[in-house]
Symmetry: C2
Subunit: 403 residues, 2 copies
């Protein structure tokens, strides 16, 4: 007998019909002889409705009260799913974050899971109950309700799977798995049967919005076997694990990320430590810097260019301007950029990969502004207007078309 | 400095504007130098919406999951009220039932409060926070969420006031206090400045829907000074306490209760113990019997007539029929009846009160079917069609018109 954790997002439980669909997936898994723990997000519209209510009353509400408000959303969805499972005649119990043992840090709206005390969960599983757990939420050491922030329910599911030593953690979504590129925008994409944690991490970080990257990090750390699959069709999805079976594909995915701003600082004095000081300052304000390009010094000055999240572009500029007393016109922020990346664990042993990517972009006349590489990833920064055709061209160059 | 508990029902927090109104009442009380604990129900429509969702998915849901679902309603209203108070610039914290220390019995949807552990509440009050508490909910010894059933938020408020030894427990509603009769239906009604617990209990039980009677019982037991007042107008309400100042009114209230069925069992064998057996049987099924009338025996048989809650009428008939093997036509259920009552603590020392009531009814040609009296109450059962005019006539007979 296996223990399986299943996670369903807000769109999977958006209305009564979909809740019944989830109930049938869960009870089929249980009927097949498995112990089942289910993590659910708030229903599709609930979070938006609650946010609207809060904004109408006080747009500057505290994060503590926002957590109190929003966590009611999962409370509604877990009890409704439990009722649907009761209707199908199975033993079930729903548990809130604190009842399921989720202890988190104290940072409201962006808490991190510290521990999951599985005592209550074990008791309910021993009673042969299907256990429905509210995702996204926990309590801090002061017994206040916290939420985990964006994508938090994925993390809740992986944390539960790790704590319970589950045999598998299934993340149900509205696509059938992880694809080589976004199938709605690129032709001849392929669903991957398996993918490594590291590849998934790069894909998650780069904007393939299938899995939250914190949840993949946690899965890798605790060796939780993840499966991404669809709640609408009953077909196998993509397995995420330590070592994936090679599928004769060097590149496993092509991604596009448009949530990028490029910041250039021109004619900085070429003295030691200046780059360090700038990036420390940005880090101190939680501004994450991604690709960095530094020009060779000339006339005692140099240029530094880097990318940040789009919303951090102007913030970074103001911060650098004020801290280092640099004139406004010497700091340029460009938000009309996109980052195109290829990801694949086998890449490092194939030196021609980067050249092949650049050639594909050259052939469609796309100018590369910046380049960054890691062991399993190559990213280029290009004009946002070229982004979609660049993804298609790169995908065509690496992923064989046809079955 | 006083400690004041304030309770607001669902209609008082139905939308953003009303939430802001409640916030201003609460912060005015706090600004006047009081410690304030506020108990709130779910917003007007929330409970109905949640019940509709549950019914759509599974009308035969468990009570345990219903408690999980419905308790989300107060979670929403307490956080929104806290945000409104934050907007006015006051320190505030919202607490769920379990966070506020409410331990209850295990009966889901109809739990009773066992204890209120005030440790967290005291800590928050010591920090000078306004404390907003979710009414209607608690947890049982298994850490499952429970709700208190109808009118539960009143009980939550009184339990908090008793546990914190509050100076006053204010129940805000949409009327200005307790009236001598329903002011929407009867002319020349008067708001009472004070009323005793016992009088209030009779009025609550008899259908004056101002206060839940369990909350009045608890207030009497722990000597909590209650005040019923309006959240819309800022005028003093009605104080409920042990001994009320006499306001030259023998009768303090005239009430109408139409949630009544009269059950008559005809030609029962006149043997000892038969009445006892019937009423024990009804009690064993939680059917509460109110007025009882037993005819004098004749020809070795007697008739027994009693009143029950309207929804229990047919149930009582079936139960008696099956248990005592009485033919169908010998048990008559009449739901076209109403109970009219007068209540007043001074009544027992005024023997003419009953006669005056009967005379008032006689003068408008209303037939009395049954009579019941207690030390502070006289009730009569009449045809439901006569109910409104009967209340007006009795009110006019006892309550002096004019200021």
């Amino acid at each position: 007998m296996s223990l399986i954790v299943q996670k369903f997002g807000g769109s999977s439980v958006a209305d009564a019909k979909r809740v019944m669909n989830v109930a049938s997936i869960v009870t089929d898994t249980y009927s097949a002889g498995n112990d089942v723990v289910v993590v659910v997000s708030a229903q599709g519209d609930t979070t938006d409705e609650l946010v609207a209510k809060a904004t109408e009353i006080n747009p500057k509400h505290s994060r503590r009260e926002m957590d109190m408000l929003l966590s009611a959303g999962e409370q509604i969805s877990i009890s409704l799913l439990a009722m649907a499972i009761e209707k199908l005649g199975f033993p079930v119990v729903s548990l809130l974050g604190w009842q399921a043992g989720f202890s988190t840090t104290s940072t409201h709206t962006a808490a991190r899971i510290k521990t999951v005390n599985t005592e209550r969960l074990r008791t309910e599983l021993d009673k042969k109950n299907i256990v429905i757990v509210a995702g996204f939420q926990g309590i801090n050491k002061y017994d206040n309700i916290t939420t985990l922030g964006r994508g938090g329910s994925d993390t809740s599911a992986v944390a539960l799977a790790a704590s319970l030593k589950a045999d598998r953690c299934q993340i149900y979504t509205d696509v059938e798995g992880v694809y080589t590129a976004d199938p709605r925008k690129v032709e001849n994409t392929k669903k991957l049967n398996e993918i490594t944690y590291d590849e998934m991490l790069e894909l998650a970080t780069l904007g393939a919005q299938v899995l939250n990257n914190r949840s993949v990090e946690m899965a890798k750390k605790y060796n939780v076997k993840l499966e991404v699959l669809s709640s609408l069709t009953r077909v196998p999805g993509t397995i995420v694990k330590e070592v994936a079976t090679v599928e004769k594909m060097l590149v496993r995915g092509v991604t596009k990320d448009t949530d990028v701003a490029r910041v250039s600082i021109l004619a900085l004095p070429d003295i030691p430590g200046i780059a360090f000081k700038i990036f420390s300052k940005l880090a101190s304000k939680d501004i994450n810097v991604d690709i960095i390009l530094q020009s060779v010094g000339r006339d005692g000055t140099k240029d530094i260019t880097f990318t940040v999240q789009k919303s951090h572009g102007e913030l970074a500029k103001q911060l650098i301007k004020e801290t280092f007393d640099i004139p406004d016109e010497k700091i340029i922020v460009d938000t009309n950029v996109a980052k195109i990346s290829i990801v694949g664990a086998g890449m490092e042993s194939h030196p021609g990969t980067a050249a092949k990517m650049f050639e594909a972009l050259y052939e469609i006349n796309v100018n590369i502004q910046m380049i960054a590489t890691s062991e399993i990833k190559i990213s280029v920064l290009i004009d946002v207007q070229d982004a979609d055709k660049a993804v298609s061209a790169v995908h065509a160059a690496f992923i064989p078309s046809g079955k």
